[in-house]
Structure formats: C-alpha cells, structure tokens
C-alpha cells in the first residue's frame, strides 16, 4: 500500500467516545489536562461531549460528571491550535444544544444518525451550516448497508449542507475491504469539495488496517483515540496510528513522541476500565453490535446472572441500533425469564 505524501486530518475521540468506558465520569479538569496535552502534540481536532453526544445525560446512557456546557466552557478556551468538535445525535440532542455548543466556541459539529435514517438530520446539519460551522454528517453502523445505499444517505446529508461525511464503523465489524468499498464509493460520487471521513472501533483489532484502507480509498479525516480510549475495545489507537502513518510517509502534523507521552502519562493512568478486546468487545465486533452497549451489557449480566456475550449476541440478532441501550435490561429480563422457564 502506498500512501506516501497523502495528507490526513486526525480527530481525537478520547474525550467523547472515551466517555463510554469512563462511564461519562471524566471531570472537566481531566478533560482540560488531556485536551491541552493533545493540543501541544499537534492533534488538530478534539471531540468533547457526553459519550452519546450533546444531551446524552440520561438514565439510559448515564449521567456525566459535568454538563456538556461545563466541559466545553472548561476546554475550549484552553486550546492554542486545536479545534473542538461536538457530537449530536438527533432524537437525543436538539438544535438548542447545538446553539449552546456553538456559543461555547465549538467549531465542528458532527451530526450522527443510524446509517439508514439520514433524513432526521436536516434541522441540525442545516443549522450547523447556517452558522458556518464545519458541519459533518456521521453515518453510524455503516456495516449494516452496502455502498450504494450508504451513498443515498450521504447525499441527503450533503444536500442539507454537510461539508464532510463519515463512514462510521460503530460496531467495529468492518474488515478493510468493507471500508474500501464504502469510503471509495462515497469519495467517487459525492461533491469533490465534500470530504469523506472514517471512524473505526478496535473490537476486531482492525482499527489501524481499516483506517489505512480508508485513506487509500480517499478519506481525508480519520478518527482515533489516544490510548485507544473509546467504546468497546476502543477506537483506533491514535499514537499507534500516527507511528504507522509516519513510517508510510503520510502527513499528520502530529508529534508522535508527545502523543505517546499523552497516552502513557495521562490517559492510561486515568482509565477506570481496561479498554481492550476482551470477549465482550470481540463479540461486539463479531456480531455487529453498537460498541457503547459494552458496559451496560456487563452490568445487566452481573445483575441478572447471565453471560454478557449471550446478551450481546441477542442484541445483534435483534438488529438493534445505536442508542437502544434500554433494550439491554429488557433483553436480560427476557433471557432470565426464558432461563427460569426451562
């Protein structure tokens, strides 16, 4: 694979996707520490919000240690070069929260929908574009449909005003050929000035291979997470990915040594959950299940005396999508009843 001379924008997820393994308990102080260090290492874009995006604070997803606004007001003013992004999932967050984030100095808004439901994002993408933000459409669980169908949805988001569209492997299910097919098709058919991005999860340890495939197929933005701190087995570990890219001659603008220090000295020590491809995370990837279900399933398994992998496989069979965390306890109760009946 020859990626020599390509440029890519790296986007760190540790303070948003990384909120999942931290049960949304990162403090504003911890966020400032990590973000400042990432900024100093030259990471250009850093996402900050509840794991489930703006407005994610809930019984369903978990109440965070601080509000979105508190996190953003703490982090944004401390950035020297890095820009801060926020995630918004329509159905969970609203345009009111988008306006709040914008007022806090957020410059990139990423509007996320399930890969087949892009038409719920019109209000939010429209407003982001109207406020002249860097406006990104984020098509989650993109493994569930093929490149043609995915393009239709990407075109909707492009039509609402998004200037970048992501192929999002929320379940960490894709293999490199899956990424190549989807990213390549979007790159070929979308407007040339609309960027394509890729967001991976490391559940099958494909984060790096998939992200390389995405760059080769034309992706200009890649998500990763310092120390891999993200849902499931985490996101593409950013410092490892940067090392690989530098060996391959790809320009990132990131200082690999400093980034390694951020992982080693700041992020690994603050982790409360070991982010790794344990049997549950691997099951997520293998069965195509939304990565943030991980800890919820572990908790339900413990509470109801079940095996978490069984719960996850059942959620995959039911074709659950992102945000359906409420199904986990429901499924666990069903399984317990069925077990008792046997």
């Amino acid at each position: 694979m020859n990626l020599e001379g390509k440029k890519v924008t790296l986007h760190d997820m540790s303070l948003r996707d990384g909120m999942h393994p931290q049960r949304h308990q990162l403090t504003p102080e911890q966020m400032v520490e990590v973000a400042t260090a990432l900024d100093a290492a030259g990471v250009p874009l850093i996402e900050v919000t509840h794991g489930d995006g703006l407005g994610g604070a809930s019984v369903n997803y978990g109440f965070p240690a601080a509000t979105d606004e508190e996190y953003l007001r703490a982090v944004v003013p401390k950035m020297k070069n890095a820009k801060i992004s926020a995630l918004l999932i329509p159905g969970i967050g609203t345009v009111d929260q988008l306006r709040m984030a914008h007022a806090c100095g957020v410059q990139t808004i990423r509007v996320a929908t399930h890969c087949t439901e892009a038409d719920v994002s019109e209000q939010h993408i429209g407003l982001g574009a109207e406020m002249e933000m860097d406006t990104v459409g984020f098509l989650m669980m993109a493994h569930m449909i093929g490149p043609e169908e995915l393009l239709e949805q990407a075109e909707l988001m492009q039509g609402y005003g998004a200037n970048c569209i992501y192929v999002t492997d929320s379940a960490g299910y894709m293999l490199p050929d899956d990424v190549t097919a989807r990213v390549g098709h979007l790159r070929e058919k979308l407007d040339p000035d609309v960027e394509v991005g890729f967001h991976g999860h490391h559940n099958m340890h494909m984060g790096i291979a998939n992200s390389l495939a995405a760059i080769e197929a034309g992706a200009a933005r890649i998500d990763g997470s310092v120390a891999g701190m993200g849902a499931g087995a985490g996101n593409t570990p950013l410092e490892v990915f940067v090392a690989v890219l530098h060996r391959m001659g790809v320009e990132t603008g990131v200082d690999m040594w400093k980034l390694m220090d951020v992982a080693e000295e700041i992020v690994y020590p603050l982790m409360t959950h070991k982010v790794r491809a344990d049997r549950d995370s691997l099951t997520l990837g293998y069965a195509g299940v939304y990565s943030s279900f991980l800890l919820h399933a572990k908790r339900a398994a413990e509470k109801y005396g079940l095996k978490s992998t069984d719960i996850l496989v059942e959620l995959g069979r039911m074709k659950t999508v992102g945000g359906q965390e409420d199904m986990i306890e429901d499924v666990a109760l069903d399984m317990k009843k069925a077990g008792a009946a046997e």
Binding site: V59, P90, G91, E117, Q123, Q324, E329, D330
Partner: protein
Amino acid sequence: MTTKVKAAIIGSGNIGTDLLYKALRSDIIEPIWMVGIDAESEGLKRAQKLGLKTTADGVKGMEPHIVEDKVQIAWDATSAYVHESNNELVKKYGVKMVDLTPAAIGPFCVPPVNLMEMVGRGEQNVNMVTCGGQATIPMVAAVSRVQPVEYAEIIATVSSKSAGPGTRKNIDEFTRTTAKGVEVVGGAERGKAIIIINPAEPPLIMRDTIHCLTKDAPKQKEIIESAERMIAEVQKYVPGYTLKNGPVFDGHRVSFYMEVEGLGDFLPKYAGNLDIMTAAGLRTAELIAEEIQRAEAA
C-alpha cells in the same frame, strides 16, 4: 335518539386515514369530511369511496361547507407548521380542534391521565402531545400518582417504516413536546424524551421504556397496582398496550418496558406508535362530542 356529531379530518396521510377507519366505528361521531392538499392522494380517494366529502384545497376548500354540513369537531393530522393556520380557520365557525401534530397550541391531552379534566373547560383546541407521549406519559403518571417523581425519562423506539416525513423533518419537536408532556401531564418535575428509529425488517413493534426517579424510596406495591390500573385504562382503546418487563426497582429508579401493538386498522400492527395516537385522538373527540350533545339536549 341523538344524531352523531359531525367531524372533519384534516390531513389525508397515514394518520388521517387510520383515524378515519376508527372514527367510522364511533357511536357518537360521524366523520363527513376529509381534507387534503393533493387530489391524487390515496387517502382522499379512499375517503371518497367510504362516502366522505373531500377537498384537495386544504381547509379553505372545506370552509364554505362547515356551517351547512354542521361540522363541529376537526382533527388535524397534518404538521406542526400548518396547524396554527388550520386552527384559526375552523375556529371562526366554532369548530373544536383535536390536534394530532406536535404544535401544542392547546393544552395536552393524554386520555387515561387527564381526559376527564378537559370536561367542562370548553377548550377549543386540545393537543395530543406525540405518539411517544401517548405511549409513555400514562406510566409516568401511574408513578407520580403514588409519590413525587423527580425526573422521568422515556425512550420511544419506532420502526423506520412507521416514522413519517413530518416526524423526521422535525424530530426536535418530538423530543421537546414529549419531554414537556412528561412534566405537565405525567407529573415529573423534570422530563426527558429520546426517540430511536430502527430500520430492522420485519419492522419492530413500537417499544417504549419509561424510567422514573422517585424522590423517596419507591413504594413498590402501590406503584405496581397503580401501573396495572393505568395499563388497563390504556388497553380500553389500545388493546395491544402491554408491559413486557418490569417494573424494575433499582434504588430510586422505577423502569417499565412496554410494547405497543396497533389494531392494524389501516396501518400495520407494528405501527403501534401511530395507532395509539389515532385511538387517543378519537377518544378525546368522543368526549368533546358527548359534551356537544349534552349542551344541545339542554
């Protein structure tokens, strides 16, 4: 023998058509007009076949006939954007409005919780919150009737096929209006609503999760009894309203896992979200019709 109260359905889409099928079975309401904006719409053609008068010119097309046809009740099954102007127009003729859009001009009505409160207040316009609100607010109320609820959160999951373009274009209206209904009608101090659209095939039946956080430790026995009574109330007009799991008591959290299967009148059974809306809309209109009949008899 009193005559049935005449009614009009504004909006010839899925909701309007399902409502028509249900209203045709009513003992006290007779739907006589179906208002649309597209002469080619299936909904208008179907209404015509069922013997209704139709217009494709919006409410203005029906306006000249409101008085002579004695239309006294209208349902609006269009969108929040046009509801206000629809309402203004029929209001001039004293027509009572049952609003099925999330416009929420009038007070919220969730029949098993506060329908009876509407009696005698002579409201011209009542709002049916949202489908998610109709499916979940009764359970919030079931808990808040027992003891104070500090926070209630509902998660409504609907099949992709049952989420119409109106809901999709304006999904924030859904979350806002539902959250407000959880507070105002459900009785929670703070409310939150989440909606998930799932494209799985075959389509999943509408599912609703209700989490309440009670101020003091939940009174389990009373809550279970209150919930049973409430579910029985809802089942009077939506027989497929069922508690799948729960209530789960976990500290101060009380959670219900519900499934809502529709009657399958016009819309498929999985679209319980739409069915509970039309059924609640009819039930509310019937109460208004009873009041009209009483006033006329007096």
